[in-house]
Symmetry: C2
Subunit: 137 residues, 2 copies
Amino acid sequence: MKDEAQGAIRAVGLRATRQRVALLAALLASPKPVSAEALAKRLDGELDLTTAYRALAELTQADLADRIVLPEGPALYEAMRPHHHHLVCRLCGRLEDVSMCLPSTLTSQVLAKSDFASVEDHSLEFFGLCMKCAKKR
Amino acid sequence: MKDEAQGAIRAVGLRATRQRVALLAALLASPKPVSAEALAKRLDGELDLTTAYRALAELTQADLADRIVLPEGPALYEAMRPHHHHLVCRLCGRLEDVSMCLPSTLTSQVLAKSDFASVEDHSLEFFGLCMKCAKKR
DNA sequence: ATGGTTGCAAACAATTTGCACCAAA
DNA sequence: TTTGGTGCAAATTGTTTGCAACCAT
């Protein structure tokens, strides 16, 4: 796991410091997106929260990590995986992966109708109620 | 404009205070989404920034305003209009409306494949380069 | 060796909260 | 009149920056 992290970091031209390797390894090991604070806490003593923010910014720029911004709370990070989206419970925040994506025709229609030169990316999150929270109502 | 704002506020069961009416009127008058701070500044003396935040939260809950959270910078607000999305320039932040939306079949597929009880809403923003910024490269 | 990287403290940005005063219904 | 709303100041939360010590290459 650490080896994979180390290789990936070197591959994008970054120095493989102890902290960055530990961070990416933790990210790869995490089944769910996590906040910078949670990562720093999980790796208590191995890296400072400031370093976590700096490293996450680098990994995100290098496309080794993905940064998810939700309407509430801190940004969440996950190791880069095939393009996907999320479904978030409005009440408890529970988060599930969504593999489906926009039809590519939609993106080209958006570009065609716009005054933009290019449309390169999008963010798409779904909001609803998870089973548990739906039952409580 | 103020009358429209006052009526709308009363219609959702909120008190039509001077500040709330001014805020919603400003929101209705604004062609583009604006931050709470920009609104408070625009209405300098008419309402405090704190009040702006409080009022915007109420209007948003009452579906009179929409809150847009982008990956950077403060949340932006706009008077509620028919459901739509945005296209944001990665370099200058220029923001354009997108009237197109997800095919409804996509949302039901997402629900079907998930462990959720319902999918009620989504956020969808597109990112690209506006004409001006594309030329500068 | 040396230039990028780290940790700590301090700054910052966006937003929220507490509380005494004020105003809409 | 009374219940909720407002402004101001202060607290919180999330994130960034400055800088001396440090370590990967």
